[in-house]
Symmetry: C2
Subunit: 411 residues, 2 copies
């Protein structure tokens, strides 16, 4: 059969490379079927490319070739990608994508179409790059109630935080380094504001809890307000600051889902995830905690996940997998404020001793982390309802809260 | 459909508990099919058990009931387990097992029978307990050439080594603690001699490299000769000692496969795997390193993996998966001596200065780790062919080598 690749950017060119370089392995994994590159769709020209003969600018070349059974979408965005993926599914072809935005925003609709047409819509590469997570979740944890899914889902921000923690570099300097190294884009908004991690936790939560979760329903906070002082206060608590996407069920059939920096205990394996690496923890009621670790991005790792999905499609061309999730439901996602946690607060104050006294009054068990040498006070509370702890902290007169983080108990 | 569970020990009773407690989740994951416990086979009596009506001592009750479609084997050993599993497969039923000894010793034959009868023989729980590893290997890494598979595959020995490293407890004391805590059995041979890890690396290597690997082909060394001095010398090298099962391809279409204690750099995520936890690294040519982490044993985690396989069987009752491996091949596994590595040696000596001089002569780049205060000398070599390094170390007169370990570069 022929495989069409739409979008010859970083991931798409990696997919083409893996498909050709490892073709023997891929054919063997696909039960001996021929797995040939058919087309590469891209509006750009790539003169001199070894794949020159495969290029087309016309989507109809793909859709009108009956030998094309599987379409790979690595274009990104939701405009053309959405249109082409929809058409490909409607034409009875399986589609594999690495496009997390597409899955997070249009996943339910596309899964419905795939279902109706009895083909596959797969997206292992959309979360954690090459790290196997979608398949293990949907095939290996099927006997469990998922009590929590949480992880370091964005390599760029983890690189920046690692620089801040290990080398005492401040946020803007660490961001500049990440950009120089090619880990962060010129416009780093999507990474540092947490939007990228948000799309990934949407996909994971949708899979774990069975309803489509939209990015706009997920409280999303990035890392640009994290200071070196926060890092130092975290160390005092035996913790490291990580940007965590997380979701868990709460009473009443609801779930929480959020992206925010958090305190992670040094004893957690997630505290040992450095630089651009990702790690995803899943907590099952029977299984306990398992963690999946690896490079969460990059050309070849991501391509490896895309091609694995292509092979899976080739093995089950006409099979409807018990894979995906149901319709979105208004009010399904509720605020993290309903959870119980220890909480970290950092606040500005003009009168340190007065603030300290008030905090000790209102939070008798709190640990004060700051030493009074600055106009800021930081403290860690005992475990309590997050919403109540926040309200109480805000009611402390004479101080202005600048940063709030959960202390999370992860694997 | 009905599911029969053979063996009501730790894992078997966990399977029964998960099957009943999470039945709603399991039915949903099984595309809505009824998934009912049919029989529990055990020679023992369990008076008052809530599952009393399911017990039988007669395997024929299972094999003669046409409603039983899936048989779970959690008996252990290879005598009855092998006979019953074979009969169940021959009768056209899928079989799920957690029995690593059975898979490592009889896997090829049983996979062949399953193939012929167009049913499934599955064993996710045989490696890493509840950690998803078999399915990710066979479904998510299919586009890769596997350059190495290596891991901490035995929780008991990892607990003992953690005690030695973190608390300075010596081997025999740490073993006693592990026994008191129920992590090690009264007869701990299978764990501490590395036999348990050996069966697991056999299964992983068979899957990764396509031919059945027998335990007797795998050089297997346990941890009982690891001393607190070894632990201290490792620390000097920025390393921790872990019992590692590993396998990788070498020239000529061969592979190596072994179990032995090794030096692991502190910067490796595997160095952060403590206590009874397991972690398995897979290195793919496209993917790079991924690590799967969790509890490698225990009633409920292992049961979770068994039941996930049961669900997979229920979804694909008659499908022959592209899953398994080919026939064993004499001489396929070669010695680790063909690999390149830095090597650690500890030796007895009656003349420390003389030994030190000879070592410096023969290994000019070596780092001497011992301080001369004892009748032993320890050193770390530069990278070289392991066989040659060993020969050279043995040729040093005046010393008697007591311990040899690789310094492994893992994720």
């Amino acid at each position: 059969m022929k495989i069409a690749v739409m979008g010859f950017g970083t991931v798409g060119s990696g997919v083409v490379e893996v498909l050709t370089k490892n073709n023997d392995v891929i054919v063997k994994s696909s039960l001996g079927q021929a797995m040939d590159l058919g087309y590469i769709l891209d509006i750009r020209d790539f003169p001199g490319s070894p794949y020159e003969k495969y290029f087309t600018k016309n989507f109809n070349d793909i859709i009108s070739d009956p030998e094309v059974k599987i379409v790979v979408e690595t274009m990104g965005g939701v405009t053309f990608a959405y249109d082409y993926v929809k058409q490909a599914l409607l034409s009875g072809r399986s589609v594999v994508t690495s496009n997390k935005q597409l899955v997070a925003e249009k996943g339910y609709e596309l899964l419905q179409i795939a279902d109706k047409k009895n083909v596959n819509f797969m997206f292992e590469a959309s979360v954690g790059g090459g790290i196997p997570i979608i398949a293990p979740l949907t095939e290996c944890l099927t006997a469990n109630r998922i009590e929590e899914v949480a992880g370091i889902l964005n390599g760029t921000t983890n690189y920046i935080l690692t620089q801040m923690i290990d080398n005492g570099v401040d946020f803007s300097q660490a961001l500049k380094e990440a950009q120089d190294l090619g880990y962060a884009e010129k416009d780093p908004t999507s990474d540092i504001e947490g939007y990228d991690a948000c799309r990934k936790i949407c996909i994971l939560a949708s899979l774990c809890y069975g309803k489509h979760i939209y990015p706009e329903d997920v409280s999303t906070e990035g890392i640009k307000d994290v200071t070196l002082n926060d890092v130092a206060y975290a160390k005092k608590c035996g913790c490291q600051i990580k940007l965590i996407g997380s979701s868990k069920p709460v009473e009443g059939g609801h779930i929480t889902a959020s992206v925010a920096p958090a305190f992670i205990k040094d004893s957690s394996i997630l505290a040992d995830v450095h630089d651009v690496f990702n790690a995803i923890m899943v907590r099952g009621d029977a299984l306990g905690d398992v963690v999946f670790y690896g490079r969460g991005a990059g050309k070849m790792p991501t391509a490896s996940a895309v091609v694995a999905d292509v092979i899976d499609c080739a093995k089950h061309l006409l099979r409807k997998r018990a894979f995906g999730w149901g319709a979105p439901e208004k009010g399904f996602v509720v605020s993290d404020d309903y959870l119980t946690s220890r909480m970290y607060f950092r606040a500005e104050t003009n009168d340190y001793s007065l603030s300290e006294k008030e905090i000790k009054d209102k939070f008798p068990e709190a640990e004060i982390l700051s030493d009074g040498s600055l106009n800021e006070i930081a403290f860690m509370t005992d475990a309590g309802n997050i919403g109540e702890l926040k309200n109480k902290a805000e009611s402390v007169e004479n101080m202005n809260i600048k940063m709030t983080m959960r202390l999370m108990n992860l694997a």
